[in-house]
Symmetry: C2
Subunit: 304 residues, 2 copies
């Protein structure tokens, strides 16, 4: 024990010396936090406001990015629903622990606006050369290959030629009934627990929560079956859902996401695969899809 303590203290001293200004950089690679603070502005991208939804709750604003790559028809439905103020005044109906928070139309109580219909599912799509894919190298329990595509966690199967969005924490899906083609977007859910990957290719994922996840994950769990709110439980209200492009530029959330196609993304992943923070004694050496970092930051537009 004592020898190990001395060795550890020498290591700490060496690390301290390494960060003194003017000395050459030592072997210790930067931690994730150090790295993230120093990467180029060019590594960050601002999601298109036409693909960005605001979900306003009494506790604050949730920002959601839609995927035109993987669920273009459902994303279009959502734009139509939001522009018709369909969600405004509806409620959160279900919070099932370690699973999902769900909001929107409750048992079809509110009629769909003209032109919005239930859709054929968008469970998976064809792999094409135009579709970006940044693979992770440590494998996956559920799919032959996993990685990221424009900031979203994806799986793919080269044998079938198909790719699909994966049910990681913060992913947003389209609620449906038993029939695969019964979802319209009038009910949405977000993953609030360990990734329920068995839902992959069974429900259409349409996007991801970029900020405000805590507003959805800290809601009281529903006490009826499957986490549905019981009649005696107050339902958190949905004040409004809005498309960012319908909000004046100066009032938009100035959010940016890290570009998973940028070469620097590999450095971020590596800093998480092998953590060199003092706290970690045994770096994992591996990372699973839903633990891979997808950083966001708030960066106001430069003043004119």
């Amino acid at each position: 024990m004592k020898l190990r303590r001395i060795v550890r203290r020498i290591a700490v001293l060496l690390a301290l010396i390494a960060v003194l200004p003017g000395l050459p950089a030592a072997a210790a690679p930067p931690t994730y936090a150090e790295l993230l603070a120093t990467l180029s502005d060019a590594d960050w991208v601002r999601p298109d406001p036409a693909d960005t939804l605001y979900l306003d709750l009494e506790g604050g604003r949730v920002v959601i990015v839609l995927s035109n790559d993987y669920a273009p028809r459902h994303a279009a439905n959502l734009r139509s629903l939001v522009r018709a103020h369909f969600f405004d005044g509806l409620a959160v109906t279900r919070v099932q622990d370690d699973y999902v928070t769900q909001w929107g139309n409750d048992a079809g109580a509110r009629p769909l606006p003209p032109g919005v219909k239930a859709l054929a599912p968008e469970f998976e799509r064809a792999i094409t050369p135009a579709l970006p894919f940044t693979p992770l190298k440590d494998g996956d329990v559920y799919a032959p290959r996993v990685g990221h595509s424009r900031g979203l966690p994806v799986a793919r199967d080269p044998a079938s030629g198909k790719t699909w969005l994966a049910h990681c924490y913060a992913m947003v899906g389209v609620g449906r009934d038993m029939a695969a083609d019964s979802g319209s977007g009038e009910e949405l859910y977000v993953v609030i627990g360990h990734a329920p990957r068995h839902l992959d290719r069974n429900v259409t994922l349409v996007g991801r929560v970029l900020s405000g996840m805590e507003l959805l994950s800290e809601m009281p769990r529903g006490t009826a079956q499957m986490g549905v709110y019981a009649p005696d439980q107050p339902r958190p209200r949905v004040l409004a859902m809005t498309l960012a492009s319908d909000v004046p530029v100066g009032e938009r959330v100035p959010i940016e996401v890290f570009n998973t196609e940028a070469p620097d993304y590999q450095r971020l992943v590596e800093a998480r695969r092998n953590r060199h923070d003092e706290f970690f004694k045994v770096p994992a050496g591996r990372i699973d899809l839903c633990n891979a970092p997808l950083p966001v930051r708030m960066k106001p537009l430069a003043a004119h």
Copy 2:
């Protein structure tokens, strides 16, 4: 589309016929819920009250089972701390979204009771024939083998001869400072998000929350760094922690857990690997460690 609908309706009709009483069982296997309701009472075990902790919060009671197999010294420390009423009146200090809820001694403010000290870590232990291990067959990103041991998720590496508890949702760990041997049990945390498996073998896991997880997962997230509660945030109070064996028999929570060593456990896992509920169109065919079912039930002791 129409042909597929007809085929689907025929399938539903066949499924309905299959469950009619008096007819021979058809091909459709039972769903998880159906199976769980029919399995033998002998498949359920009542955790030893001497290994069972109650964490009482203002919202209700959390039940935690300790692991004598994997963290015997930390489990003993916790028994001593709880019996000295060490936790009573302390608070939840940190709730970091998609990560952990932490409670107990805040920066060592309360002195440890006599005889309780920080411990050498119990990050992993030797594999022995006496230690049960029920493997899962679909692999794992982080470890060579994974499965369950007496109701807890575990990983193992036959090459090193070591096995360790895995950081799945609801697992309880012992907070520590930078030094591996700085944890005593005075601060505890529970996983409330996607499994942070990079913590495996870096922190001593000491048990698992069996019921009341929602009380810990729905707490407001801390707004200071790493989810620590900021000075302006009220901290949820820890009313008391108690050892079940110190509570009169009639006042104990009548909880039972499914025996992961029972042959029937394989049937439960299989019902989740390949879901036959009507909702699922593409059974995953696989399951990851932290999605494997670990059912509990409340079963009062039979009246005398």
